[in-house]
Amino acid sequence: MHVTMTVNGNEVTADVEPRLLLVHFVRDHLGLTGTHWGCDTSQCGTCVLWLDGRPVKSCTVLAVMADGHEVRTVEGLEVDGRLDPVQQGFMEEHGLQCGFCTPGMMMTARWLLDHQPDPDEATIREAISGQLCRCTGYENIVRAVRWAARHPGEPTTAQDASQEVQA
């Protein structure tokens, strides 16, 4: 089947099998491998991306269902080489270890902050409670989102951020 969609602002078209999952379309057909997959029952959330401005588990969406719609992935968080504050927050607060859950977590966090710029800890935990992280124990993910909430207008580049030394 023929599909056309906007992915991170670019229009893409492709011929796909009707059974192809959106997560595989994005990863294998578009080469955007920042979106991961970690389960087969829609529980882990490593596949979270945005469909029409809302976080969805892309392992539970068929590529053909995204036909005519708008997709945003982790690769679309950074704009013009400037990191999203959420990305920087994850680095500042050690919100990631292996990094496998991180893109999905960040997509949800960005959405949360867009709708609730100053969420408290309970709200953040609630927002990410459909996504698993096996490394961090979540505490630093919560702190990372709080950091992003506190620094809404301070995007920087990946390199700048990595060189600074805290404390």
Binding site: G34, V74, M91, R134, T136
Partner: protein, 791 residues
């Protein structure tokens, strides 16, 4: 040196790639590869009668179907028994593809290679395998009863029976003023990294070489194993670890069947081949851990001091024993924690069952041992009416008794000797942090509000930094960049950052000029792997020693160039300087140029090292005797034995009087991993470990049916904690440096998970006044315990 990085909270150099979606995990690679799916056994125990692939071969896009019959040479032999032990009298390992019998649901039977995974799965659905089901042995009770056998030639289903003793425990117990007996058990859980396993193999037929990417915790050993299985010279095989989405133990096992089958198929087909494990496969065909049953007999005096401890336990090792007896050996030795047991005897039986294999999962046998010892401590306190912290304090090994020899043999085959730790000081920090002494007031207040609360604690000691060795290579490039490599692998622990911090300090170079590679056999060929909380100790020490060597060489060369004595030189911010004379300096990149006398000026920097560029002594060789070209070095660190970290956790829980819901109100950790390289990373490790400890205590269990079906083989039914289940964690550190290594460090990776079940059981017992003897515990189980008490 400008800033000291050792001990600083440095942001991780790994992160910029990972937060921008530029990580490279196994399934992100090899888009040109054929993909693999497996036909796996639906039976826990069965004979294979027939395999019919005729319907499968019709499918468009199929490349190959392989069964055991296709496996040639050493591929047809059982997989290696990785850790043999004289006591493991009945070790058994599986074939890469089942030969004539399957021993657990999930065992690989047929391998399908196709143009993509969708097609491979289509074919899998069309392959017919005829089985004759055999009786399945599931659970420790059935294995002990041995009415049926997993392997017909293993009597009593016992892979091994092992005894260790120091002193005459039974006599000491009989002679003690008080004796207690306890039966305790822990159920199965699993590492469950968010990324499953995966393998990608590329065969270069021109070069006759094989490049394997695998999501492993040991690339060097996979390399040897693949070469041996495929009959290739080792130097024709390289193994690279890409970004790994978590390991927690399960990825130290190797070679997994898929890890040899995928390279084998790639060679046969002359085409890249890839397999990525899906979640169900991970549940039914990777590895689990934890399940043990213990019987404890302990003798103690009126003060609560131990006179003798005798533990008999049964360990469920699953269908095969590729990883030997490591888990139960660790349980049997690390059970002792920070205590002097008086005389000690431990005997375990490692039992086969028709279930997934059991190999180390973070903590590796220690959570069980800690649970047993700490339940015993609480039982003694309860029997004597003593404070639980006080009983522990009375049994601690004191700091002035270090090094303390338990008279036992540890998992590394070396004596169990604790090198460091100050247990009374740690306990003091913990009771202050949690407010142990004020808890009764809090309890009374909660009670007046109709709430039921309890407090518990647990202590552990963890042997970390297990040998035999790790190595490091450090090279200064001519542009001043420093490349560092070590052979062990990384799965998210921030090794690149941590190792760069060490090198930055040792060599005097800026952190951001250092590039660290781990787990790439093309870069470093000698290594053991990442397990047993060993990276900071082993590779950390190795790269420190290596950087020191390179520093010495840099100073020797710079001394000549600056016409100064080595003693007057220092390296600051990547420049060698003559102390006290600003201006007399040469940057390390230039030193690297000088270290490599050249004939050809391939670039500007090189021109400075060519034969006519600098006047040289005509009578000495350009490369001095004993020196080698290049500003680089390699060194290894091999400790006499493990170094022992320790920690103590305290937990406050609230149990709902009606629903028996269990809520963690506070979780406090005091942790001693020696000197800390990066507190941010260490705390992150503790957080993650605690979350797994909470999962193991309250949620996670592998629910096997009596027929050996894993009933909850998905994240829908196997409950791992989400953000909503993990409490905030309060941490305090004590730093007692290890005397065994040059950095004074002890491992930190597994710490957080070890005392979880023990501390939470202690708190629930305190809240409820009901003995808690098995974990995990669900609200309905607690409800049952209450009902049984009230009848």
């Amino acid at each position: 040196m400008t800033t000291k990085l050792f001990g600083a909270r440095i942001r991780r150099s790994e992160d910029p790639r990972l937060v921008t979606g530029n990580g490279r995990y196994l399934d992100d690679l090899g888009h040109d590869a054929y993909e693999v799916a497996f036909v796996r056994s639906p039976h826990a125990h069965a004979r294979i009668l027939d395999i019919d692939v005729s319907e499968g071969v019709e499918v468009d896009g199929l490349v190959a179907i392989y069964t055991y019959q296709d496996l040639d040479g050493r591929m047809g032999e059982p997989l290696p028994l990785l850790i043999p032990h004289p006591t493991l009298t009945h070790g058994r390992t599986q074939h890469a593809l089942a030969r004539d019998e399957v021993n657990y649901v999930g065992e690989a039977v047929v391998m399908v290679v196709a143009v993509d995974r969708y097609v491979a799965e289509d074919v899998v659905g069309r392959v017919r395998v005829d089985y004759e089901p055999l009786p399945a042995v599931v659970g420790i009770d059935a294995a002990r009863a041995a009415a049926d056998l997993v392997h017909p030639d293993v009597p009593g289903n016992a892979a091994a029976v092992m005894v260790q003793e120091s002193g005459d425990a039974e006599a000491a117990i009989d002679a003690a003023p008080h004796v207690l007996e306890l039966d305790l058990s822990i159920e199965r859980s699993a590492s469950m990294p968010m990324e499953g396993k995966g393998v990608l193999a590329r065969w270069d037929s021109d070069d006759e070489s094989l490049l394997v990417h695998t999501s492993t915790q040991t690339s060097t050993s996979v390399r040897q194993a693949v070469a041996a299985k495929l009959g290739l010279p080792v130097d024709r095989v390289e193994v690279v670890t890409p970004d790994v989405g978590g390991g927690f133990g399960v990825k130290i096992v190797h070679p997994w069947p898929e890890e040899v089958l995928v390279p084998w198929a790639a060679v046969r087909l002359g085409h890249p081949v890839k397999w990525t494990e899906d979640r169900r496969e991970h549940f039914v065909s990777s590895a689990h851990e934890r399940a043990q049953q213990h019987h404890v007999r302990v003798g103690y005096d009126d003060e609560g001091r131990l006179h003798g401890l005798s533990v008999r336990f049964w360990h469920d090792n699953g269908a095969y024993t590729p990883y030997g007896l490591i888990v139960p050996i660790i349980t049997s030795t690390q059970l002792l924690g920070p205590y002097k047991p008086g005389a000690y005897r431990v005997e375990f039986t490692s039992l086969y069952t028709n279930t997934v294999i059991v190999t180390p999962y973070r903590g590796a046998g220690r959570p069980q041992g800690c649970f047993v010892m700490e339940r015993t401590m609480d039982a003694i306190a309860d029997a004597l009416g003593l404070d639980r912290a006080e009983v522990r304090l009375r049994n601690f090994i004191r700091p002035d008794e270090m090094p303390y020899d338990h008279g036992l043999i540890f998992q590394d085959g070396r004596p169990l000797v604790y090198d460091s730790g100050d247990f009374p000081a740690s306990l003091d920090k913990l009771t202050k942090l949690v407010g142990w002494d004020d808890f009764e007031a809090y309890r009374a207040q909660a009670r007046s509000e109709g709430r039921r609360v309890g407090i518990g604690l647990a202590c552990y000691v963890e042997g970390t930094g297990v040998g035999p060795y790790e190595g490091g290579h450090v090279r200064v490039e001519t542009d001043g960049t420093v490349v560092v490599s070590t052979g062990l692998t990384t799965q998210g622990q921030g090794h690149q950052t941590m190792l760069a911090q060490i090198v930055a300090d040792e060599l005097g170079v800026p952190f951001d000029r250092i590039r660290v590679t781990t787990g790439d056999t093309r870069r470093f060929k000698y290594a053991v792997g990442t397990f047993a909380s060993r990276t900071a100790v082993m590779s950390g020490s190795a790269v420190a020693l290596t950087a020191r060597k390179v520093r010495e060489k840099a100073l020797r060369i710079a001394a000549q160039a600056l016409e100064a004595s080595v003693d007057d030189l220092d390296i600051v911010d990547g420049h060698v300087e003559v102390k006290g004379s600003p201006g007399a300096t040469i940057d390390l990149g230039a030193v690297a140029v000088l270290s490599n006398p050249l004939r050809y000026a391939f670039d500007e920097a090189a021109a400075r090292a060519t034969q006519f560029a600098t006047p040289a002594d005509p009578d000495t060789p350009p490369v001095a005797p004993g020196e080698a070209p290049g500003l680089e070095g390699t060194d290894f660190y091999s400790p006499p034995r493990s170094t022992f970290a320790n920690g103590m956790h305290a937990v406050v829980v609230e149990t709902d009087p009606d629903t028996a819901d269990i809520k963690i109100l506070r979780y406090c950790v005091v942790h001693d991993c020696g000197t800390i390289i990066n507190p941010m990373i260490v705390e992150g490790q503790v957080h993650g470990g605690v979350a797994q400890g909470v999962g193991g205590a309250l949620y996670e269990r592998m629910e096997y049916g009596p027929d050996g079906q894993l009933l909850n083989a998905s994240f829908m039914d196997f409950l791992m904690p989400y953000a909503s289940e993990v409490p905030e964690i309060e941490i305090d550190h004590l730093e007692t440096p290890s005397p065994l290594n040059p950095l004074g460090v002890k491992g930190a990776g597994e710490a957080g998970v070890i005392p979880g079940s023990a501390a939470i059981a202690s708190a629930i017992e305190d809240a409820e006044g009901i003995p808690i003897r098995s974990m995990p515990i669900s609200p309905s189980e607690l409800f049952d315990l209450r009902s049984r008490r009230s009848v």
